[in-house]
Amino acid sequence: MERFTVGIVVFPGSNCDRDVSWALEACLDIKTKYLWHESSDLGDVDAIVLPGGFSYGDYLRCGAIARFSPLINSLHDFVKSGRRVLGICNGFQILTESGFLPGALVANKNLNFICDDVELDVISSKGGWLNNEHQKEGINLPIAHGEGRYHCDSDTLKKLIDNDLIAIRYRNNPNGSTFDIAGITNEQGNVFGLMPHPERACDEKIGGIDGLYTLKSLIRH
């Protein structure tokens, strides 16, 4: 049987692709493969990570141009097939711009680019990306973004709450996000987008290991 392979999408301007690869390969012994954004053949990968960065220089809006790449076009069938997609930071922005997840990410309330560690409450275990029993004390993950303020209208927020789609919330909201939202899943649970960087919290020596669970969960299902 072929080894489970996680595809890491590389856009012009992605800059966390190698961090994700290191976290999966070196920390978790999970095979990875870089996928250039112009490729549309996703047949030989079992899960996909959209990493952080500044795809297309954040031109127009964060994630707005990346949405039109052939790879994102193919992602619709990939998601329909039930395979797992994790969008981190710019990856989360791309998932909202492409309509895989509701809402949008806009400029931080205080206009600062925030680079910090944040405390997060794990709200939902939907999709198995996190575990609100094992992680009920909360988790600490780094954030690094200028446009991470999650915004949605009140109807969408109600839907997120009613359907248990809010995965993590900030304890001390750093950016003005609606309802302190830091990460959400789709209704099926196989797409997860979050602003914090789990790949930067996979080693005790450099930032803790609270990100391991989420990355491991790419292959758990």
Partner: protein, 84 residues
């Protein structure tokens, strides 16, 4: 085929906080300009487009605005068309 000039204005929806607008409003006050009640920053996109009719242009620009220029979750748009 006629040539048309289209000016598209994109604004954050009124319900979306505009921190850049707030910061600029604060700087405007520091400049000594009084009476500013609201200041919000948007984008303007100029497009020159060739098409048979103005109606065709509208169809194209509506598609561009809905799918690319604006994210209607957070932004509204309007545009004007002139024949060149």
């Amino acid at each position: 085929m006629d040539q048309f000039s289209v000016k598209v204005f994109i604004r954050l929806r009124p319900s979306v906080l505009d921190p850049a607008g707030e910061a600029t409003k604060s700087a405007s006050n520091k400049l000594g300009v009084e009476g500013i009640k609201s200041l919000r920053i948007g984008k303007m996109i100029e497009v020159k487009i060739e098409s048979e009719t103005e109606n065709d242009v509208r169809k194209k620009v509506d598609l561009l605005c809905d799918r690319l220029f604006a994210n209607t979750v957070i932004e509204d748009y309007e545009y004007s068309i002139e024949t060149i």
